[in-house]
C-alpha cells in the first residue's frame, strides 16, 4: 500500500507535537490503550455535557482525538499497555480503524434518536472503548473484561428503541449474551487448566510442547477441543454466526437503527478479531479441527442468512439476515487459514462495515421519517421521492451483492480466491451459489427503488446528518472498487502481524 503508508507517515509527522506532549504526560503503561482511554474520558464528558445540550460535538471530538492517538503513536513503539495485557499491532489497528469509522457514522446518525442523548452517547463511547480493548487483548482474562465492557452498554442501548419490541429484542440479546459470556469463561478456564496460563503467546507455546509429547497429548486434546468449540460459539454469538445467530434479526430489527448499525458494523467485527487471535495464535495446534468447524460454520451461516433473508418483508430484518450471510462469506477466508485468506476476511470486514452501516443508517433514517417499519413497499418510487437516498441505498446493496461498483467486489473475489488457493474450491463454489441466492433479495431493493411504478410522489426529506455520512462512506467504498490496494495492502500487513 504505497499511498496510505506514506499518508500515515505524513500524519505522524504532522501530529508529532501532540505525540511529544502525550509522551511527556501520559504514563508509559497507558500509552498503548490511549485510543480507548480517550473514548472513556469523552464518554464521561458527553454524559456531563448531555445533561443540558446535545453532546454530539463532544463525542465526535472524542472519536477524532482517539483516531489521532492511533495515528500519532506508532504501534511498534507505544503499542503495549497495562503490562502487556492490551497490545496494539497492525492487526488490532486495522480493527480500531473500522471501529472508529463506524463510530463516526453511528454518532452522526444518532441525531435521529429522540430520547436523552447524554446517556446514549456515554453508552456508545464506552462500548467503543471496550471494542478497542477487545481487538487489542492478548490475554484471555483481559479479553473477557474488554468483552464485557463492550457488551454491557449495548444491552442497554438495544433496549432504547422507540417501540416496545426493542425491550423484547434486548432481553433476548441479553440472555443469550450472558450465556455466551458464561461459555467463554468456561473456555478460558479450560485453557488455563491445561496450560496454566491465560496469555495467548504462552498458551500457544505450552500447547506446542505438550502436543509434541506423546504421553500428554491424548489427554489434553479433548479438553482443548472443547475450549475451541466454546470459543467459536461464544465469540461467534456476537458475530452472529451459526449456531448463535438467532438473536440477530430480532434485536437488529427492533433496536434503534443507529445502535443496529453499530452492532453490525463494529461489535460483530470484534468477535472476528478475538476469534482470529485465539484460534490462529493461541490454539494453533488444533488448526485441523477448528478449520473443519469454521468450514461448517461458514456454510451454515451463508445458507441460513441467504435463505431466510429471501422471505423477509421488513428491510431491517432483511439486512440483519444479509449481515449474517456476509459473516458466512467472511469465514471462508478464515477457514482457508492462509495469510491471504485472513487478509481477505478482514478486508471484507472493513467493506462490510462501510456498506452495512450505511444501509442500516439510511433505512433507519427513513423509518424515523415515515414513522413506520420500512418494507419493500415503502421503497417503491424512492428514486423520485428521495433520489440521493435511493442511489446510496442501491449502491450499498449492490456493493453487498458484490457488483464491482464498490470494494465489495474485490473482498468477495479475494475470499473465494483464498478458498480456491487452499484447495477448497467447493467452499468457493458454495459461496458463489449463495451469492446467486442473495440476488433474490438485494435486487428486490433495486427494483423497488427504481423500477416499480411509484404509488406516492411526495418527497421524503431525510435528516441531513445520516445522508452526509452515508455519502462519505459510499465514496470510500466506491474508491475502493478502483484501488482496493489502498486498504487491502494494509490488510495484508495486518494479517502478517498475526500469522507471521
Amino acid at each position: 500500500m504505497v499511498l496510505p503508508l506514506q499518508l500515515s507517515d505524513l500524519l505522524q509527522a504532522l501530529t508529532a507535537p501532540i505525540r511529544d506532549v502525550l509522551v511527556r504526560f501520559v504514563p508509559e503503561q497507558w500509552m498503548g490503550s490511549l485510543p480507548a482511554l480517550t473514548l472513556v474520558l469523552f464518554a464521561v464528558l458527553a454524559l456531563l455535557v448531555g445533561r443540558h445540550v446535545n453532546p454530539l460535538p463532544v463525542s465526535l471530538l472524542g472519536v477524532v482525538l482517539s483516531a489521532v492517538t492511533v495515528v500519532t503513536l506508532d504501534a511498534s513503539t507505544y503499542g503495549s499497555s497495562f503490562g502487556g495485557l492490551f497490545v496494539r499491532d497492525a492487526f488490532s489497528d486495522f480493527f480500531i480503524y473500522i471501529i472508529l469509522i463506524v463510530a463516526v457514522l453511528v454518532l452522526v446518525s444518532s441525531t435521529l434518536y429522540g430520547g436523552d442523548k447524554g446517556p446514549y452517547d456515554f453508552l456508545l463511547l464506552t462500548s467503543m472503548a471496550g471494542a478497542i480493548w477487545v481487538v487489542m487483548a492478548t490475554d484471555l482474562v483481559g479479553l473477557f473484561l474488554a468483552w464485557e465492557l463492550m457488551s454491557t452498554p449495548t444491552y442497554v442501548l438495544t433496549a432504547l428503541g422507540p417501540h416496545r419490541g426493542a425491550v423484547d429484542g434486548a432481553v433476548k440479546y441479553f440472555v443469550m449474551g450472558m450465556m455466551a459470556s458464561a461459555l467463554m469463561l468456561f473456555g478460558i478456564a479450560l485453557v488455563y487448566g491445561v496450560t496454566g496460563s491465560t496469555e495467548l503467546a504462552t498458551v500457544a507455546q505450552t500447547l506446542n510442547t505438550m502436543s509434541a509429547d506423546p504421553t500428554v497429548a491424548p489427554t489434553m486434546s479433548p479438553t482443548v477441543l472443547l475450549a475451541v468449540v466454546l470459543f467459536i460459539l461464544s465469540f461467534g454469538f456476537k458475530t452472529g454466526i451459526f449456531p448463535g445467530w438467532m438473536w440477530v434479526p430480532d434485536t437488529y430489527s427492533t433496536a434503534d437503527g443507529s445502535v443496529t448499525a453499530y452492532l453490525a458494523g463494529a461489535t460483530k467485527k470484534t468477535g472476528v478479531s478475538a476469534l482470529v487471535r485465539i484460534l490462529m495464535v493461541g490454539l494453533l495446534v488444533s488448526q485441523l479441527e477448528w478449520t473443519l468447524l469454521l468450514v461448517v460454520v461458514s456454510i451454515m451461516t451463508m445458507v441460513i442468512g441467504n435463505v431466510l433473508a429471501l422471505a423477509q418483508k421488513n428491510i431491517m430484518r432483511m439486512l440483519a439476515y444479509s449481515s449474517i450471510a456476509m459473516m458466512g462469506y467472511l469465514f471462508i477466508g478464515l477457514a482457508a487459514g492462509t495469510e491471504f485468506g485472513l487478509a481477505a476476511a478482514i478486508f471484507h470486514a472493513f467493506i462490510h462495515a462501510l456498506l452495512k452501516t450505511t444501509a442500516f443508517i439510511l433505512v433507519w433514517a427513513m423509518a424515523v421519517r415515515l414513522r413506520k417499519v420500512i418494507t419493500y413497499d415503502d421503497l417503491v418510487g424512492l428514486s423520485e421521492r428521495s433520489p440521493l437516498a435511493a442511489a446510496l441505498l442501491c449502491l450499498a446493496v449492490l456493493g453487498l451483492l458484490g457488483v464491482p461498483v464498490t470494494g465489495g467486489f474485490w473482498s468477495k473475489l479475494f475470499l473465494f480466491q483464498s478458498a480456491v488457493e487452499a484447495d477448497m474450491w467447493w467452499l468457493a463454489l458454495i459461496g458463489a451459489l449463495n451469492t446467486v441466492f442473495s440476488l433474490g433479495y438485494y435486487l428486490r431493493v433495486v427494483r423497488s427503488c427504481y423500477m416499480a411504478a411509484p404509488t406516492r410522489d411526495d418527497t421524503v426529506a431525510l435528516a441531513r446528518g445520516p445522508l452526509i455520512v452515508s455519502v462519505l462512506a459510499m465514496l470510500v467504498a466506491t474508491v475502493l472498487a478502483v484501488v482496493p490496494g489502498l486498504v487491502f495492502d494494509y490488510a495484508l500487513v495486518a494479517a502478517r502481524a498475526v500469522m507471521g
Binding site: 500500500m1 504505497v2 499511498l3 423484547d168 432481553v171 433476548k172 440472555v175 443469550m176 450465556m179 455466551a180 461459555l183 479433548p222 477441543l225 472443547l226 475451541v228 468449540v229 466454546l230 467459536i232 460459539l233 454469538f237 451459526f242 449456531p243 448463535g244 438467532m246 438473536w247 434479526p249 430480532d250 479441527e289 477448528w290 473443519l292 468447524l293 461448517v296 435463505v307 431466510l308 429471501l310 422471505a311 423477509q312 474485490w410 441466492f437 433474490g440 478502483v482 484501488v483 482496493p484 490496494g485 487491502f488 495492502d489 495484508l492
Partner: protein
C-alpha cells in the same frame, strides 16, 4: 519542435477527447462556435501530431512515458502511458492531419440549401461534431497507447463512434435503398449496427487474445513484452507454448474485424450509409487503419519471439494469406459496383489486404524489414489517396444528389478541381508513376518477389490489374463519357452541376499535392522508421534499404497499367462498346452478390441463430423456466417454512445454541 515530445504525446489525444466533451457546451452558446471549435480542435490536434514529426525525423527513437499508475492490489500494477515512436507518430499524424481536413470539409458538406436558397444545417450536427472529435481522439489514443489494455479502450471508442456516425442519418424518411427496411433512416441505423456487431466479433477475439498474452507474458506493455521476451519465452511451459500462437491469432481477430478483412469484411460496404465525410474518416484516417496499426505494432514483437517459438509461423502465414484472399476477393467485387462510394469501399478492403499481405510476409521472407516497410508505407499512401478519393466523391455526390455512377458522367467540365484531384487519387490507387501509390505498391511487389513468395506475389499482381481497371472504370463513369439522364434532368430543372465551395476544394488540393509528391519522401520515410524498436534477435536494418529501386517488379507494374487501365479507358472514356449482355451472366451475379458471402452469413448466423433460439425457447426454455420457477417457489417455501421456526422464543434459541455445542463437539471428536 514547439511542444515537448512527452507533453505532445498526451495532448494529441487529450485535445480531441476534450473537444468532443465540450461540443455540447459550445453548441449551447452558438452553432457557429461549435463548428468553429470543431475545426479548431481538429487543426490543433493535427498541429500537435505534425509537431512530433520533425523531432522523430531528426532522431528516430522509441520512448515510453508513463503517466498514470493503477495500483490494483499488492504487486498487481498496471501502468497507463504513451509510446512515442515513428509508428505511433505516423498514425497520429494521419488520424489528426487527415481528420482535421475532413472536419474542415464537413463544414461545407454537412450543409445544404432549401428551395428558397437559404443555408440549412443538419439539426443533429452537435452529435456529428462530438462524435467526429471523439472518433479522432479515440483513434489517436489507440495508437499512442503504450499497452494493449489502453489500446483496447481506444479500439472500443472507435468502434462506438463508427456505430454512431454510420447511423448518423437514422431518421431520414426517404425510401430505403434495400427492401428489408421501410425508410432510409432505418437502413442507415441497421448499417451502423452491422458495423458494430461484425467488428465486435473480432473485438471479442482481441480481448481474449490480450488477456491470454497477459497471462503468458505478465504485462500489457508493448515495450516490456518485447524487452522481457527472452525471460518469458524461456519460462514458457508446454501449456503456454501451445497457447502463444492461439493468443497471436486471437489478437489478429481484432484487426480482421476492424480492418474489414475476410471473413469479417462484410460491414465496410454498408458503412457507406453514413455521411461521406464519415466514410472518409473510417477509410483513410481512423478505424480500418487501427487494425493495420495493431498488426504493425505486434509484428516486431512476434518476430522476436518467432526466433525461438517456431509455431508462431502460423500467425504470419494467416496474416499474409488473409490479406491476399481479401485483396483479390474485394477487388473482384469492386468491378461491378454502381455506387461510387461502394467502389471506394471495396478498394479500401482490397488495399488493406495488401498491407496485411506485406506485414504478414515480414515473418516469411528473409528481408523482413523490406516487407514491413512496404506495409507501413502503403498504409501512409493509402491514407492520403483514399481520403482524397472519398472527399472528392463527396463533392460529386453533393453536386449531383445521387450515389450511383449511372447518374453521373461527363462531370469533368463543370467540376474541374474535383475531377482533377479525383484523377490524381485514382492514378495513385492504380499505382501509376510518380504518384505515391506507385512507390508503395512497388515496394510490396519487390518484397514479395525478392522474398520468393511467388503465390502471394501472383495474387498481388492480379489484384493490381483489377484495381487499375475498376479505378479507371470509376473515373470514366463519373467524370468522362456522356452525361447521364439524371444530370441532364437536373440541368433541365435549372440545377446546374457546379464546383464545390473552397472549404471543400482546399482539402482536396492539399491531399492531391500530398499524393503527387508523397512518394519522393520514401528515403525520409525509411530513416523515420528506423526508430521502431525491434528485438535483440531480429534487428531491422533500415539503412541498407534502397529507396526508389526499380527492377524486375517495375516491369510488372507497367504490365498492370497496360492490362488494367487501357481497357477501362477504351470502354468507359471512349464508350461505344456494349457489355450489357454480361449483366445476365453467372459471374456478374456472383460478384454483385459479393460472392454470396453476405447471404451465407445471413443464412447461418442470423437465420440460423433465430432458428436455434426459437427452437431453444420452445423446446428447452419453457421447461427450464417452469423448473426454474419451481426452484424459486420451492426456495420461497423453504424460506417461509423455516421462518416459521424462527419463533423468537428465547428457550428455543438457547436450546439451539446448546445443541450447537454438542454438534460441534461431535464433529471435532468423531470426524
Amino acid at each position: 519542435m514547439f511542444v515537448p515530445l512527452g507533453l505532445a504525446a498526451w495532448l494529441v489525444f487529450a485535445v480531441p477527447l476534450t473537444g468532443a466533451a465540450l461540443t455540447p457546451v459550445f453548441a449551447k452558446v452558438h452553432e457557429s462556435l461549435r463548428d468553429a471549435m470543431a475545426v479548431l480542435v481538429g487543426f490543433v490536434t493535427a498541429f500537435i501530431a505534425l509537431d512530433m514529426v520533425p523531432e522523430m525525423l531528426a532522431s528516430p527513437s522509441s520512448t515510453d512515458i508513463v503517466l498514470l499508475r493503477w495500483n490494483v492490489v499488492a504487486g498487481h500494477v498496471i501502468d497507463f502511458g504513451v509510446l512515442v515512436d515513428p509508428l505511433s507518430v505516423l498514425l497520429a499524424t494521419i488520424a489528426g492531419g487527415i481528420g482535421s481536413l475532413i472536419v474542415l470539409f464537413s463544414v461545407g458538406y454537412m450543409t445544404g440549401y432549401d428551395e428558397d436558397g437559404n443555408l440549412v444545417k443538419d439539426p443533429a450536427l452537435t452529435r456529428y461534431y462530438g462524435f467526429m472529435q471523439l472518433f479522432i481522439g479515440g483513434m489517436i489514443l489507440l495508437v499512442m497507447a503504450d499497452n494493449l489494455l489502453m489500446t483496447f479502450i481506444g479500439w472500443e471508442v472507435v468502434g462506438m463512434c463508427s456505430y454512431a456516425l454510420i447511423g448518423f442519418w437514422h431518421n431520414r424518411a426517404q425510401p430505403s435503398p434495400v427492401p428489408e427496411y421501410a425508410t432510409e433512416g432505418e437502413y442507415n441505423a441497421a448499417c451502423g449496427m452491422k458495423a458494430f456487431m461484425v467488428t465486435r466479433v473480432g473485438d471479442i477475439g482481441l480481448l481474449a487474445g490480450i488477456l491470454l498474452l497477459y497471462f503468458i507474458t505478465g504485462t500489457f506493455n508493448y515495450t516490456e513484452i518485447l524487452e522481457t521476451a527472452p525471460t518469458w519465452v524461456g519460462g514458457l511451459t508446454s501449456l503456454t507454448l501451445g497457447l502463444l500462437p492461439i493468443a497471436a491469432l486471437l489478437v489478429f481477430a481484432g484487426p480482421i474485424g476492424k480492418s474489414a478483412q475476410f471473413p469479417l469484411h462484410t460491414w465496410l460496404p454498408e458503412a457507406m450509409a453514413g455521411p461521406t465525410t464519415v466514410s472518409a474518416l473510417i477509410h483513410a484516417a481512423a478505424m480500418v487503419k487501427a487494425g493495420v496499426y495493431l498488426v504493425a505494432r505486434l509484428v516486431p514483437i512476434f518476430l522476436e519471439v518467432f526466433t525461438s517459438v517456431a509455431s508462431l509461423m502460423v500467425f504470419f502465414q494467416t496474416v499474409a494469406w488473409i490479406g491476399a484472399i481479401t485483396a483479390f476477393m474485394s477487388a473482384t467485387m469492386a468491378l461491378v459496383q454502381d455506387e461510387i462510394k461502394k467502389v471506394l469501399a471495396y478498394s479500401t478492403i482490397s488495399q488493406l489486404g495488401y498491407m496485411f499481405m506485406a506485414l504478414g510476409a515480414t515473418g516469411l521472407v528473409a528481408e523482413g524489414v523490406a516487407a514491413y516497410t512496404a506495409g507501413t508505407f502503403h498504409l501512409l499512401a493509402h491514407a492520403i489517396f483514399k481520403a482524397l478519393l472519398f472527399l472528392a466523391a463527396g463533392s460529386v455526390l453533393h453536386a449531383v444528389q445521387s450515389k450511383s455512377m449511372r447518374d453521373m458522367g461527363g462531370l469533368s467540365r463543370e467540376m474541374r478541381v474535383t475531377a482533377a484531384t479525383f484523377t490524381v487519387g485514382a492514378l495513385s490507387l492504380a499505382g501509376v508513376f510518380p504518384f505515391i501509390g506507385f512507390w508503395s505498391k512497388e515496394l510490396i511487389f519487390e518484397a514479395l518477389w525478392h522474398g520468393e513468395q511467388y503465390p502471394l506475389f501472383a495474387v498481388a499482381f492480379i489484384t493490381a490489374i483489377l484495381t487499375a481497371f475498376y479505378t479507371f472504370r470509376m473515373v470514366g463513369m463519373t467524370f468522362f463519357g456522356e452525361k447521364s439522364q439524371h444530370v441532364r434532368d437536373l440541368e433541365a430543372h435549372g440545377h446546374h452541376v457546379h464546383e464545390a465551395p473552397p472549404v471543400m476544394t482546399v482539402p482536396l488540393v492539399l491531399l492531391a499535392l500530398a499524393a503527387t509528391v508523397g512518394g519522393l519522401f520514401e528515403l525520409a520515410f525509411f530513416g523515420f522508421f528506423s526508430g521502431v524498436r525491434t528485438g535483440e534477435a531480429v534487428h531491422f536494418d533500415w539503412s541498407h534499404l534502397a529507396p526508389f529501386s526499380l527492377g524486375v517488379t517495375t516491369l510488372f507494374t507497367v504490365v498492370v497499367w497496360g492490362v488494367g487501365i487501357v481497357p477501362a479507358y477504351l470502354i468507359y472514356f471512349r464508350g461505344g462498346y456494349d457489355f450489357s449482355r454480361l449483366k445476365t451472366g453467372a459471374l456478374y451475379r456472383f460478384l454483385v452478390n459479393r460472392w454470396y458471402i453476405n447471404r451465407v452469413y445471413h443464412r447461418v448466423f442470423v437465420d440460423g441463430y433465430l432458428w436455434l433460439s426459437r427452437a431453444l425457447r420452445d423446446r428447452l426454455e419453457a421447461g427450464l423456466l417452469a423448473s426454474g420457477e419451481d426452484v424459486a417457489r420451492g426456495m420461497a417455501r423453504v424460506s417461509r417454512g423455516w421462518r416459521r421456526t424462527m419463533t423468537g422464543v428465547l428457550n428455543t434459541n438457547v436450546l439451539a445454541m446448546m445443541l450447537g455445542i454438542v454438534a460441534f463437539l461431535c464433529i471435532v471428536l468423531f470426524l
